[in-house]
């Protein structure tokens, strides 16, 4: 484990990625409570000493909005990532390990969900919840529509493990299916599942932004997410009017988080995957 970590730290990609990611997490966690918002200004005031990143259409300071947005987007991303990874991993493990009819049925379900365009489902369900869509609801929706990819790749890995000797040994020793899955298969996949989780978080953040962008995002006090900021800017014709500060900071923050997660994932793959190991 320690050796792995040492190897990881040698990877510049990992260092950059984790630095960016930790910074965003810290900003998201602590920012909103540390940065006490400045009083309301006029609509779309340009960046100045008083408002570092200007104000939005309602005169609210963009720095405060971005920090809150970051916090909420991370919350949605992690929540969605946890849900999608848990469901996907469980389904994948059982399908891969059990094989046979269980595999066929679970596989059918997975494929069914893959065929249904998840974004469309997301849009339809969000739209049918006109009142009080909370951040948690959006996260759960995203989690429940994005798990099939995890399930598929975990299943492939689990299948390849099924025939290994140590599994057969465990079975001869009378271990139950659950024991085998969680004690003898999952640990082998842990690094892989972790990488999958990171990507699910990234895709959760992106999905939330996309769904908020078209006006189906979270509603309610304090539920400003990065996507909601972009949506407001879009609705207020920020581009037409040249209010770059309404769009670019939020877009850059989204890009940075997703990029950081991508770097993390890629660098881990290089270390964890023996075939890619240098």
């Amino acid at each position: 484990m320690l050796k792995l970590l040492k190897n990881l730290i040698k990877e510049p990609m990992f260092v950059i990625g984790s630095f960016l990611f930790l910074t965003t997490i810290l900003l998201g966690l602590l920012g909103p409570s540390l940065y006490t918002a400045v009083p309301e200004g006029g609509p779309y005031e340009a960046p100045s000493a008083a408002y570092w990143l200007g104000t939005d259409n309602l005169g609210e300071d963009y720095v405060a909005l971005l920090l809150r947005g970051l916090q909420n987007s991370l919350y949605v991303g992690f929540m969605a990532g946890i849900i999608a990874t848990t469901i996907g991993t469980l389904v994948g493990l059982f399908a891969g390990f059990k094989g046979g009819i269980v595999d066929d049925i679970l596989n059918m379900f997975t494929n069914l969900f893959i065929v249904i365009p998840s974004f469309v489902v997301l849009v339809l369900v969000s739209a049918s919840w006109p009142e009080g869509r909370s951040l948690t609801l959006i996260a759960v929706l995203i989690g429940f529509t994005t798990w099939p990819w995890t399930a598929r790749s975990v299943r492939a890995q689990a299948t390849s493990l099924r025939g290994r000797d140590h599994i057969s040994l465990a079975r001869i020793n009378g271990a139950s299916n659950l024991q085998i899955i969680f004690k003898h298969i999952l640990p082998y996949l842990a690094s892989y599942v972790f990488m999958v989780f990171i990507m699910q978080v990234a895709s959760g953040i992106l999905s939330e932004s996309a769904i908020s962008m078209i006006g189906l995002g979270p509603i309610g006090e304090g539920s400003t997410s990065l996507g909601v900021i972009l949506n407001t800017a879009k609705n207020q014709s920020a581009i037409t009017y040249g209010y770059w500060w309404g769009i670019f900071p939020a877009a850059i923050v989204i890009t940075v988080i997703v990029f950081a997660l991508y770097l993390l994932n890629n660098s881990m793959e290089g270390v964890f995957n023996p075939r890619l190991r240098k």
């Binding site: 309301e40 006029g42 609509p43 779309y44 259409n57 309602l58 005169g59 974004f119 739209a127 006109p130 009142e131 009080g132 990819w149 598929r152 790749s153 990488m195 999958v196 990507m199 699910q200 990234a202 895709s203 992106l206 999905s207 932004s209 996309a210 962008m213 078209i214 006006g215 509603i219 309610g220 006090e221 304090g222 972009l230 879009k234 609705n235 207020q236 014709s237 581009i239 037409t240 009017y241 989204i254 997703v258 991508y262 994932n265 890629n266 793959e269």
Partner: protein
């Protein structure tokens, strides 16, 4: 690996959504092969959103394409036009001769002709006015409630028509005056033939599109249309050029209504000079000045206020059925912030009540009475005290956010949702601010942005707590009476619930079957249209406004123009403005705003 692909897909989807939502539309009128020279073509937009279906003026107005729908005077003309600047009723097909509580008298212009050469006569007028008697589904079926009979005499070689007020029904000559402008006259000889060809099957006649060589009386006629634009061409032998405009022709040879999908396109195309005028809400218009986009006034409020936008309150639901609760809400809102942040300062300083303190209504505005009866606007302390006095309490968490409110009986009050159509950015901003302001004094409200398909049906059935609403009150001769009527009349009061439609007073104020019914409201609403004495009229309006201020059935949040009027001087000049008010602040297609067409000049 799959996930990288998925991330890439996600990022791509996000950027596509973003690009799609803010892409600039190519100005459809600018193509080089266009047969409509820019210097002879006037581009106006804001009335047609989807593909044009039909140009048949007998179809329900909301299904008909511009300019055969609504109040546009370009193809089919009304008898008269109302000038919202002067209050005058100006002649078009007819000349208003007199108006009293018994009848409205109009002379038909003897020179008026249809485009096929047939004269416009009282037969045409009677055809459309009395169509409801023959076919109950006709769009003018409401006329019978107001006009009991139309008499025709000949005076000095002119046909003189007397519209007799229907005393037994609505008894409202003011509404007849409005109808002179609202009802456009259609050629009876053409539509009678359609009717006899189809054995008087009205629905069959409605299926005729009237898009090929329609017979019209107006200065322009439809020549081409598709899902991107509607093109009208000038009729050089328009009868009104000689009679109404000293023989001059309107300057634009073509009028094109480009059909845009998105509100942004109006701002972009105006700025580029691809659109000459539009009637849409464009935020922060002052920032467009440098691109040659102008408005009536050079300074805020930029537009002439004409209509009030309201928060309609469901007067049958607790706690909104409590007068003091409603008054506290009216006091708590920060109207200056709403004006500055939500509607780009397009509203003048808010005065309480249903009578505007400027423009033609000013003569009925009594500042003393208003101050006596109104709550102070924008006074949070007053609102808090009023709530406290009435037994309301609020529970805040340690961060200062409202948790819930408690009513006078100790019950936790429900969270009230403010409904507004999603995507209407100005209304959304108003609701956002109202929620913030109301929650800060302990009123538990939330945003409820819904799809249009959920917004519109909620109004007539009353299925809302609070809803943003602009009542369909046109700027006509009957203001402010029609505003009071739209907000306070309980003539058609129906309980909230399915199938119970109310098209005025949707907040269900003043239930006529309840113990507290105030009959004076409906009596005043009935009496005002019959008053001709100015002092009596002022007294009646003051009394009605005082009742409104005391009961506060709805909350006016801003005074915006009835129709936005913004124009570009890149291609056409000579638009009416505050400094050159030869026509009212309207696009040159409705009311007496149409006179602008004869004054516009192409930039050389």
């Amino acid at each position: 690996m799959n996930f990288s692909k998925r991330i890439a897909c996600g990022a791509l989807a996000l950027s596509l959504v973003f690009l799609a939502s803010c892409k600039e539309e190519k100005a459809s009128g600018e193509s080089k092969t266009s047969s409509y020279p820019r210097s002879e073509t006037l581009y106006l937009s804001g009335s047609q959103w989807g593909e044009p279906n039909t140009f048949n003026p007998l179809v329900e107005p909301w299904l008909v394409a511009w300019p055969a729908n609504d109040r546009f005077n370009l193809m089919y003309e009304p008898l008269t036009a109302y000038n919202s600047l002067t209050g005058a009723t100006e002649p078009i097909l007819g000349i208003l001769i007199s108006y009293d509580t018994e009848k409205v008298v109009v002379d038909i212009q003897p020179e008026a002709k249809w485009s096929d050469g047939v004269s416009v006569t009282s037969t045409d007028v009677k055809f459309i006015y009395e169509l409801g008697k023959r076919f109950p589904q006709a769009p003018t079926n409401y006329v019978g409630e107001f006009v009991s009979e139309i008499k025709v005499d000949t005076v000095d070689g002119k046909e003189r028509m007397s519209f007799i007020v229907n005393k037994a029904a609505r008894n409202n000559p003011l509404a007849i005056l409005d109808q002179l402008q609202a009802i456009r006259i259609v050629p009876a000889h053409v539509f009678e033939k359609y009717l006899s060809d189809s054995n008087n099957d009205f629905d069959a006649v409605k299926k005729i599109k009237c898009d090929k060589d329609p017979v019209v009386s107006g200065p322009y006629i439809l020549t081409q249309y598709n899902n991107e634009r509607i093109v009208l061409v000038r009729r050089d032998n328009y009868w009104g050029n000689k009679v109404l405009h000293d023989g001059a022709l309107p300057n634009p040879k073509f009028i094109i209504h480009p059909i845009y999908k998105n509100n942004d396109h109006f701002a972009i195309n105006l700025q580029k000079g691809a659109l000459d005028a539009s009637m849409n809400y464009i935020p922060r218009i002052n920032e467009k000045k440098k691109d040659g986009v102008s408005t009536w006034y050079d300074a805020p409020p930029y537009f002439v206020p004409g209509s009030m936008h309201f928060l309609y309150l469901n007067n049958t639901k607790a706690p909104l059925n409590d007068r003091n609760f409603r008054r506290a809400m009216a006091a708590a809102l920060d109207y200056a912030a709403i004006s500055r942040l939500a509607v780009s300062s397009y509203t003048p300083e808010m005065k309480p009540g249903l009578i505007m303190s400027e423009g033609l209504e000013k003569k009925y505005y009594n500042a003393e009475e208003v101050d006596k009866h109104s709550v102070p606007l924008g006074d949070k302390e007053f609102a808090k005290k009023l709530l406290e006095k009435s037994g309301y309490k609020a529970v805040f968490d340690d961060k200062g956010n409202l948790k819930h409110s408690i009513g006078p009986k100790g019950d936790t009050l429900p969270t009230l949702l403010i409904k507004a159509p999603a995507g209407w950015s100005d209304w959304e901003a108003i609701v956002n601010l109202a929620v913030k302001q109301l929650r800060s004094i302990g009123i538990d409200v939330r945003e409820g942005f819904v799809d249009g398909s959920q917004y519109w049906p909620a109004l007539p059935t009353g299925e809302f707590d609070i809803i943003m609403r602009k009542p369909p009150v046109a700027v006509t001769a009957s203001l402010p009476w029609n505003r009071f009527n739209a907000v306070m009349s309980s003539r058609n009061w129906r309980p909230v619930g399915d199938g119970n439609f109310m098209n005025e007073n949707e907040g269900r104020y003043n239930n006529p079957n309840a113990a507290g019914y105030n009959k004076r409201v409906d009596d005043l609403l009935d009496a005002i249209p019959l008053l001709t004495d100015e002092d009596a009229l002022k007294a009646a309006y003051a009394e009605l406004n005082n009742i409104f201020l005391n009961d506060q059935p709805v909350i006016p949040v801003c005074h915006l123009p009835e129709e936005y009027y913004q124009f570009s001087t890149k291609v056409w000049t000579g638009w009416p403005t505050e400094k050159n008010p030869f026509a009212p602040p309207q696009l040159p297609w409705v009311g007496s705003g149409i006179n602008t067409l004869w004054r516009l000049a192409p930039v050389k």
